[in-house]
């Protein structure tokens, strides 16, 4: 019987928003829902502009999103 191996090195999250969503399943939250939405927006823009898929935006960055 062959084993199927799935590589999942980043399960807690490659980005702050992924980490936040995993944290909410475990303990609670570290930011407001509004800031989470803004950080998702920043991550989307970073991916579009430079292809970055791993980053760590903070609410300081989120505050700059109007």
């Amino acid at each position: 019987m062959a084993n199927i191996i799935i590589k999942r090195p980043d399960i807690f999250g490659k980005t702050r928003s992924e980490q936040e969503e995993n944290m909410r399943k475990e303990w609670g939250q570290t930011m407001t829902d509004e800031n989470l939405d803004k950080i998702k927006f920043l991550e989307k823009k970073a991916k579009e502009k430079v292809g970055s898929i791993k980053n760590f935006f903070t609410p300081i960055d989120a505050d700059e999103v109007k």
């Binding site: 191996i5 807690f12 609410p59």
Partner: protein
């Protein structure tokens, strides 16, 4: 079941090989002062460390430490982590983040952290990031937080440090936050109160601050008994500070005679104070705010008489 390196799963089985939460560029550490244990590995919420220091001792460059609040105690408030923690170059770019219980992060920091001696957090780690932490300097503590940059061994070790949504209580003898100059720190959405030796120091007489940004902060309940500059809300200690930006801050107390809300002191200071409110009548840039020369501007700031401060 076969055992594989971290991050490898066998189909239909459980995660094998250790850390569930490791990633290629940072390790996530978990601290739970109620259910955790320092004997745990600290890499999963259900195997959390019990103390912040235990996680810091294992943390490396760029790591992230999530800290769970302790149990609320009626009449006392949130249970406190009582420990003095030191972070150094080996932990540069470290993030320490307080976790709130679901759906209440809007109410501010829920994680209380104090020590019985020294600064609660003593940092020589560049780019340290703090979030949602409530520092509570006890009566025997020197202060809440120091970001060091004062000797050959830790020159510029506080560059790029940031803090967001943190509370700092200095105590009856302590400081709030002491930043020994350096560059590009960000203090955003923070609350400073009751620091008899000064709320926020941004430079020392021998070390300038450059490109520091203080935004949306509240300063309140400072000592009203003393008359020294050291009790100033924001204090540059007479150093020249450059490109300093203080905006949308609320200074929520009456300033004692001969004490300043903001004291820069150095004659070559540059920067801007904008959109702030000072809760005292007849606030002036002579007796209550020291701009440190003519290249530090103040615009759109009001005092308790609704008069424009100039």
């Amino acid at each position: 079941m076969s055992v594989f390196p971290d991050g490898l799963f066998e189909y239909g089985g459980v995660p094998v090989g250790g850390a569930r939460y490791t990633s290629p560029w940072a390790t996530h550490w978990f601290v739970d002062g109620v259910d955790g244990s320092d004997a745990n590995a600290g890499k999963k919420p259900n195997e959390a460390k019990a103390t912040v220091d235990a996680a810091v001792q294992l943390a490396g460059v760029g790591d992230i430490i999530y800290v769970r609040p302790k149990t609320y105690i009626v009449g006392t408030g949130m249970g406190r982590y009582t420990e003095q923690v030191t972070v150094d170059l080996a932990q540069s770019n470290l993030s320490i983040i307080g976790v709130s219980y679901p759906n209440n992060s809007e109410f501010g920091a829920r994680l209380a952290w104090t020590s019985t001696a020294g600064f609660v957090l003593d940092s020589s780690a560049p780019a340290l990031h703090l979030e949602n932490l409530h520092f509570f300097a006890g009566t025997t503590a020197i202060g809440s937080l120091i970001l060091r940059n004062n000797a050959a061994t830790n020159t510029q070790r506080n560059d790029g440090c940031t803090m967001y949504g943190c509370n700092f209580k200095g105590g009856t003898t302590g400081n709030g936050v002491v930043i020994q100059g350096g560059q590009a720190q960000r203090i955003i959405n923070c609350h400073f109160h009751h620091a008899a030796a000064g709320q926020l120091t941004i430079a020392t007489p021998s070390v300038s601050g450059v490109n520091q940004h203080i935004r949306n902060c509240v300063f309140c309940d400072n000592s009203t008994s003393g008359t020294t500059v050291a009790e100033t809300d924001i204090n540059a200690g007479g150093a020249h500070v450059y490109s300093l930006l203080i905006e949308r801050c609320f200074f929520n107390h009456v300033v004692p005679v001969s004490t300043f809300y903001i004291y820069l002191g150095g004659t070559l200071c540059t920067g801007l104070i904008a959109g702030c409110f000072f809760d005292d009548a007849d606030v002036s840039t002579t007796t209550d705010i020291n701009l440190g020369g003519t290249n530090m501007r103040i615009v759109g700031c009001y005092d308790a008489s609704n008069a424009l401060v100039a």
